[in-house]
Symmetry: C2
Subunit: 345 residues, 2 copies
């Protein structure tokens, strides 16, 4: 298996992606194809102690870099020789099995949709991060690929999220919940009400395990669902609110532990446990966010990814490619439309 | 000043509201008018060591109780002699200066709108909780009174939230932010885009201090805004996600501190600091959520309020009534419509 890695994407590029990919090549039994400016990549390799390109690693030269200031919808065409565009084209040509990039989310989404294409019948691709909750973690889908959604999109997100939870998180029958402002049926706006009906039909047909509306509080503090379905606007607010609350809490905890000499002593005693505690809420442990609905595996790594996060993103890409989630989706896409047909009939 | 308290609302009624109100009467220099079943209230008073009704406390008998299972839109009419309906009618008649209830949010919202009425020109009432953030706290408006909003509603929420932040939080020129999925102008759906324009116009006219779009992460972890404006659907998701994340974090912290004998020792050393830490994120410190846009002060206490939370809710009601936020809103309501007129012109 070969993972293509955008060596120029993210705040810490090119060193962090190169270092993370290198470690993945050494430890995970994958080959790596790095895209980006050859000179800079070679410089990083040298910095990491490699005078020549290590075994299992290749470089595909790309002279351009997509910046956060580039127009996401056009970046891929405006910069045809960017590390992102080149990487996606190589994936399309079968030169690798998955693509990892920490570049602009919007640009990656547009480029992946245009170069790799969506799975036939899938209306919109979705961003599906794995979010920590009380029982471990859950798949949130969508978290911002499509702000404005139809009930049918949400139905498709539910199926895609369930396949992803099965293959990536190893949950045989994932519980699918609809993010809403109350647990009772009939809650929310038209979008949620109609999606609720479609999801109920899919559940009754035995195709997904829909457990109903879930509020943000219970989704996190009880871990009630394995897949949390929502439109991209709401999902983005949800995800960033969790991140903000975690940051505030971590900061307050640190303030407390440094608050007095006695507290500092207690903090020393807790040192290892605090490490474990932080690990539980650390996004770099997951790797990145899968783009679901695209015909080949594409992983968006966090913009602030360090080498360890890139290593985990490559591991995630490997798992997604092995699981053939795109195959699951393609094989079942007729059901994702049928349910709508039935409703309209 | 007299605060009317619904003695029958909330999970811990009637004991918690009676106990909290009693403490408020003793410590805050307010009079209390309790609404509910006289026998039960007298029983609580006796349990709290009062054989007779204490000075500064009155009871207004109400034979019915609105339950969570009652239809929120009709509860107030279906149960005309409920503690909530009776309390609101007494407020309307001028028998008190503010009303506090921990009963059903939906029922309180409907009943307050029907009995007390909205301020003339205000399209929708809003629920405005105070939410902790990195710099202290901010006003979130709306958090669920109106799920589906127009840009004009959001403009009105911005004004109302700003007056509330001035009077209740004591911030002279509150920074108003629009909750969105990106900080740049032009982000979000039609609702956010149009609201952004209206808020910009109000800012340029010198009427509110609009600082632009704010993401959930920065709203919490940086405390960028004093007033966070959003539709009721998104605001509800935001609020409950914060609550869920706080619960998860608290739980994980507790697990860690009890994880080993050494950790337990460290926890003992940290005991006082942990108390302070928890207090910072404890909703019972605030009291409750103000219903803004209604012509008289109504405070929704949290359903799970204990006596201390009710005490704080009464203190909050006192402050809201003293600040005459409804007066501020009424005096400026023409601007909240004018901006829309200008846009349409």
């Amino acid at each position: 298996m070969k993972i293509i890695v955008d060596a120029m994407g993210g705040d810490n590029a090119p060193l962090a992606p190169v270092e993370g990919a290198l470690r993945a090549a050494q430890e995970l039994g994958v080959e790596i194809l790095l895209t980006g400016r050859t000179e800079e990549i070679l410089g990083c390799l040298e910095q990491l102690g490699h005078k020549t390109i290590p075994k299992g690693v290749e470089i595909a030269h790309a002279s351009q870099v997509i910046e956060m200031s580039d127009n996401p919808a056009r970046a891929f065409k405006d910069k045809p020789d960017s590390s992102m565009t080149v990487g996606l084209k190589l994936l399309k040509e079968g030169r690798g099995d998955a693509f990892v990039s920490a570049g602009s989310t919007g640009a990656l989404l547009s480029a992946a949709t245009l170069v790799i294409k969506r799975i036939r019948g899938i209306r919109r691709a979705a961003l599906a991060p794995v979010v920590p909750n009380a029982t471990g973690s859950m798949v949130l889908i969508d978290c911002g690929a499509t702000a404005e959604c139809t009930p049918e999109y949400l139905l498709q997100f539910a199926y895609m999220g369930a396949y992803y939870a099965q293959r990536f998180l190893g949950i045989p029958q994932p519980r699918v919940g609809l993010l809403n402002i109350g647990a009772e049926p009939g809650k929310g706006m038209e979008l949620q009400k109609q999606a609720f009906d479609l999801l109920t039909q899919a559940h009754e047909a035995g195709r997904i395990h829909f457990i109903g509306n879930i509020e943000g509080r219970e989704a996190i503090s009880q871990g009630e669902a394995d897949v949390l379905v929502t439109d991209g606007f709401t999902g983005n607010i949800f995800l960033k609110t969790v991140e903000g609350a975690a940051a505030l809490f971590n900061h307050a905890l640190k303030d407390m532990l440094l608050g007095s000499a006695k507290n500092k002593m207690a903090a020393l005693m807790l040192k290892n446990s605090i490490g474990e505690f932080k690990k539980r809420f650390d996004s770099s442990e997951i790797g990145g966010t899968a783009l679901l609905g695209i015909s080949q595996p594409v992983i968006k790594a966090h913009g602030s990814s360090n080498a360890y996060a890139f290593y985990n993103a490559v591991r995630q890409a490997q798992k997604v490619a092995q699981g053939d989630i795109a195959g699951d989706i393609a094989a079942n896409v007729e059901h994702m439309k049928l349910a709508v047909g039935r409703k309209e009939a």
